[in-house]
């Protein structure tokens, strides 16, 4: 039943998360067995045993970053957890998990939503876009490039949500001023307080300069 297309839109090379996971697994193995090679650990980690699928799981089919996905999941799985835990698209972040911070913002059929407040099973046939589907390290979306140029972050935890919101805002009714942008970005909280730079990045893209 399970037909997973892993990481659509994600880069294929080693990233920080893969390296950390491998190092972490190797560290545990080294503690327990002393002389296991990291190569073996990596091979084992890549093929975990598949647990049986419980009867009350539901079939979901959708498109994530233009790739078809179908899977049986627990109906309680939010879209956010589906993307992170099942699709391993960890660019979308879990902040408050109650629709208050905006870190989990993704696009559903082109509209920005809080993925934490939505069950994945209710998105049958829909088109989901995450930060991984927006651009790639060598081909950034213009909004990603503008965030880099204007330093629209410090710790970076809210950034993918900010960028997904900002990209959606480009197609929404929004007045010309910074205050207009701030109002429509108020659903994305930045604890580092990079708001001025975020607004500058968005305004640059809106003005096409």
């Amino acid at each position: 039943m399970t037909d997973i297309t892993p990481k659509p839109g994600a880069s294929s090379g080693p990233d920080r998360r893969t390296i950390l996971q491998t190092l972490g697994a190797a560290g545990v193995a080294a503690t327990w067995q002393g002389n296991v090679h990291a190569e073996n650990v990596r091979a084992e980690a890549a093929t975990p045993p598949s647990p049986p699928v419980p009867d009350d799981y539901v079939e979901v089919e959708m498109r994530v970053n233009k790739q078809p996905v179908s899977m049986r999941i627990d109906p309680r799985t939010t879209l956010l957890d589906f993307l992170r835990e099942h699709m391993h698209l960890t660019g979308t972040k879990k902040g408050c998990d109650h629709g208050q911070c905006g870190a989990c913002t993704v696009h559903v059929n082109g509209r920005r939503v809080n993925s934490c407040l939505s069950f994945a099973a209710t998105h049958q046939g829909e088109e989901i876009t995450t930060i991984e589907g927006l651009g790639e390290p060598e081909h950034l979306h213009e909004m990603q490039a503008a965030f880099v140029e204007h330093d629209g972050y410090q710790c970076g935890y809210c950034t993918s949500g900010q960028i997904m919101s900002a990209v959606a805002l480009l197609h929404e009714p929004c007045g010309p001023t910074n205050a207009d942008v701030r109002e429509l970005m108020s659903g994305n909280i930045c604890r580092c307080g990079a708001y001025n730079n975020i607004v500058a990045a968005i305004q640059q893209v809106r003005q096409g300069t």
């Binding site: 309680r76 109650h98 629709g99 939503v113 407040l117 109002e183 659903g187």
Partner: protein, 334 residues
Amino acid sequence: MDVFQIQNPKDIDAAVSGGATANTAQQGANVRFLAGGTTLVDLMKLNVERPQKLIDINRLPLDKIEALPDGGLRIGATVRNSDLANDARVQRDYPVLSQALLSGASAQLRNMATTGGNLLQRTRCVYFRDQDMPCNKREPGSGCAAIGGFNRNLAILGTSDQCIATNPSDMNVALMALDATIHILGPEGRRAVPIADFFLLPGSTPDKENVLQPGDLITHVTLPALPTGAKSLYLKLRDRASYEFALASAAIVMVREGNAIGEVRFAMGGVGTRPWRVKDAEDHLRGARMDKAAFQAAAELFLKDAKPQSGSGFKIELAKRCLVHSLQSASQLA
């Protein structure tokens, strides 16, 4: 969160018959309709709502905004708040509704939240949302921790000794001032309920918030045409500039007749256990001169029965100023 089933009804009748199996349409319902989910999913994560079955109504044909022959507007139950707020007819004919919607929540939440869901939005009282605290709305008979507790954001009108929770919606306040009608399809057929009769006062049963019975599905809301020359607006006062619930808000509809006030209707949010309207205050303004003294007198009448709680005494004056200021602003438009 408890495990639940998700049902995808093939049509509206199937949704109603699925909903009719519920033990109640109020707090503690074992079957819930699911629309935008912005309230329900949040409360399910907190175990405040624990449905065993969700009936997903998002694909039912309830998502249209249509002009009515009499000049009014028909708004489907699953029309998203953002689509309603940005609809050209709403912006032209009912600016109070557009402004109220855009002052609520965030852009993401407005893309999800629906007309029907917003009508049924649950209170933001922190004790209702916290399983470890007594709350008569969540668990009848357990007591009210808000009375004497943290209550600066709670109600001063329509309260009881059982509950002082505020209706948190902005949209509902605008719909009150617009004399909206809520259309319901239930197991017994269709019925139309004026919004003024839709919400219940908490009294001794704060777990019952509205007139809905098991299987009752809100299908749409209708707005009557406003009188010629009517102006409307929404003013919201809150702790933050954006993305915050109201401490006090006002929805105004006003028509000028010469130098005096003609038809006038207004409702307030953030201060009542339901969106609040006071007939005496409106009657006082009809035919009155458009001046601050008249608006001040109307505000006194509106807040006459206000009962402050331990942390909400400031809201009486805040609400009066909110109402006077918004009536003045409306009179300058009219």
